[in-house]
């Protein structure tokens, strides 16, 4: 099968990966979340202002599946926060290039947060910049950067974007 950026099958596969990723988080199956990444990976959540100024500071920065798992263990057993749910909406997914079996993808996202008081708020809006590779036939994120516009994080961020 050809991994060409205009290949419809590839587009479908990429969309399936992006959808499954957000569904995993929104359904609170966070223990499965690290498996969307390659063993060695880069997951970062970066304010747009830093990204544009070329400054590296991120609010979450993980370079292995182990680090991603540790975040979830901390979320489940260590960190203190109020009950909350995310709902991700993704759109405008574009395969920007396919180079050396690496699929470069960009998409927009919005995360709504709902807490126990029942109010849903726009918690975080931005774009994903992804590098996706095939591991044993399955697509995985080698890199996933969430560059967020909502640079003022309300209260705290504990669940990944």
């Amino acid at each position: 099968m050809s991994d060409d950026k205009n290949n419809l099958t590839l587009k479908n596969e990429v969309n399936d990966l992006l959808n499954a990723y957000v569904q995993c988080i929104d359904d609170d199956k966070l223990e499965d979340w690290p498996s969307f990444f390659t063993d060695k990976c880069l997951y970062q959540v970066v304010p747009r202002e830093n990204h544009e100024m070329g400054l590296p500071t991120a609010v979450m920065w993980c370079d292995s599946q182990g680090m991603l798992s540790d975040r979830i263990t901390a979320l489940r057993h260590a960190n203190i926060y109020q009950v909350q749910w995310y709902r991700h909406i993704i759109s405008n997914t574009v395969i920007t290039s396919v180079i050396n079996d690496e699929i470069h993808v960009q998409s927009n996202y919005a995360v709504f947060k709902t807490c126990n008081d029942g109010e849903s708020t726009v918690f975080n809006v931005g774009r994903y910049i992804d590098v996706i590779v095939r591991v044993n036939g399955e697509l995985k994120f080698k890199e996933r950067s969430a560059i967020y516009d909502t640079h003022r994080i309300t209260t705290l961020m504990v669940i990944p974007i």
């Binding site: 959540v45 304010p47 202002e49 830093n50 100024m53 400054l55 590296p56 500071t57 991120a58 609010v59 979450m60 920065w61 993980c62 370079d63 292995s64 599946q65 182990g66 680090m67 798992s69 540790d70 975040r71 263990t73 901390a74 057993h77 260590a78 960190n79 203190i80 926060y81 109020q82 640079h151 003022r152 994080i153 309300t154 209260t155 705290l156 961020m157 504990v158």
Partner: protein, 417 residues
């Protein structure tokens, strides 16, 4: 002008600094008075770093309290600051967070009044009218319409501002120990590596208390104990300077096993004996970069700044009050200009520990909101701050609220209540 003390600021007669009435946290009148007496009063407020103003003409927008302020680097290379409000009709002049003015001018978009980096008025369009009609009166004197200026000081590359002529020099203001820790952490030229921002629905003073509170550290922040890395047994303590400033520090080489036994007896959530292990312990890897054993220092320069070294993360936390029930926390992370690549990589990975999503710090936003939610009414009730006694000042352990009591002593003096 005499300012009447609002009823909400009246302390219960039978308490001093061991009980703070909740009305101090939930009231607009108190908040407005704080802006006047504290943020516009004899205090030094954090504005940014020299590194954020790399060239002549560089600027950064920020706040002193909730007053918008712009910090600039003038044509003479010096740092200036002024209130971001046109002297003509009160419009906001600078509308960007940061940047550079190529011609060194700051022009209000409304009627194009132009100011220089020092805040001096340079140009008024149509000052002499058009075709003999209109214009400013003949006695209009540009020099009387400069922007409201902020007195600034640059101390080891960090810029502070004050509105008051009564504010003492910065080292006197800080006090001996805060000053020493400030010099320690600013041991060489710094490089800002980014900002993160957190908006918290709580009164800003709950956060001031939080950063002077060694008691909560091992009880609220459970990341370390959950992974079997126990903290309250480490050596350290708290120091108070000039009542309102403080230093909390932790030393690595002074673990006390008898403390650990006491902790187990208390049966808190704190201690978990190896139930969970980090899958990737590289998160906590780091390197020694100071000539001492201090692994954590959190020092606060009231009212606007908290500086921390937590392992290899270095940060200025700027507290920006927005109302009696909201504040913004701006985290400016930095390293040193001569950092090795290895050290920078530790700093990057350890960013996970601190900030709005910090594994060991995110709860501070939460605890502040927990307090605010519960005190919307009942302003006549007070909290209870007696851990470690009733005194103020420094302690050589963590089971104390002495630095918080000192804060309230200084607060009452500043607020004159």
């Amino acid at each position: 002008m005499t300012i009447k003390t609002p009823d909400h600021l009246k302390w219960p007669v039978d308490t001093d600094i061991t009980a703070v009435p909740y009305s101090v946290f939930n009231n607009r009148e108190v908040y407005d008075l704080e802006q006047q007496k504290i943020h516009n009063g004899p205090t030094w407020n954090y504005l940014g770093t020299e590194d954020e103003l790399p060239e002549n003409g560089s600027f950064k927008s920020t706040y002193i309290g909730d007053t918008p302020v712009v910090v600039t680097r003038g044509e003479d290379g010096l740092v200036y600051a002024w209130v971001n409000r046109c002297s003509h009709r009160g419009a906001e002049i600078c509308r960007e967070r940061h940047g550079k003015s190529d011609d060194g001018a700051f022009t209000c978009v409304y009627h194009q009044w132009a100011f220089d980096a020092k805040g001096d008025l340079r140009g008024v369009p149509f000052q002499r009218g058009l075709a003999g009609k209109g214009g400013m009166p003949k006695d209009f004197d540009k020099t009387k319409h400069n922007l409201r200026k902020v007195r600034v000081v640059s101390h080891h590359g960090v810029i502070f501002g004050t509105f008051s002529d009564d504010t003492p020099d910065i080292e006197t203001y800080m006090g001996e120990d805060v000053s020493r820790h400030f010099k320690r952490i600013l041991k060489g030229p710094i490089e800002v590596i980014g900002h993160t921002r957190q908006f918290i629905a709580g009164n800003w003073k709950f956060y001031s208390e939080n950063t002077k509170d060694p008691y909560h550290a091992s009880l609220l922040h459970l990341f370390h104990p959950t992974f079997g890395i126990y903290r309250a047994s480490l050596g350290g303590g708290s120091i108070v300077n000039n009542d309102v400033h403080s230093v909390l520090w932790v030393e690595n080489n002074k673990e006390d096993e008898s403390v650990l036994d006491d902790v187990k007896k208390d049966n808190t959530r704190t201690y978990q004996d190896g139930t969970y292990q980090l899958q990737d312990p590289s998160l906590l890897a780091g390197m020694k970069e100071f000539d001492d054993d201090t692994s954590t220092v959190i020092f606060s320069l009231f009212p606007s700044l908290v500086v921390h070294q937590i392992q290899n993360t270095l940060c200025f936390r700027q507290i920006l009050p927005k109302s009696e029930s909201e504040f913004e926390l701006v985290w400016t992370f930095f390293g040193y200009a001569d950092d090795s690549e290895e050290l920078r990589s530790y700093r990057m990975k350890q960013l996970n520990l601190v900030g709005p999503a910090g594994l060991i710090s995110m709860e501070d936003g939460e605890s502040t909101e927990l307090c605010q939610k519960a005190i919307v009414r009942d302003g006549q009730y007070s909290n209870y701050i007696r851990m470690g006694g009733t005194g103020t000042g420094s302690d050589d352990h963590f089971v104390t609220e002495g630095a918080i009591r000192s804060l309230w002593k200084g607060y009452r003096e500043l607020m004159d209540v």
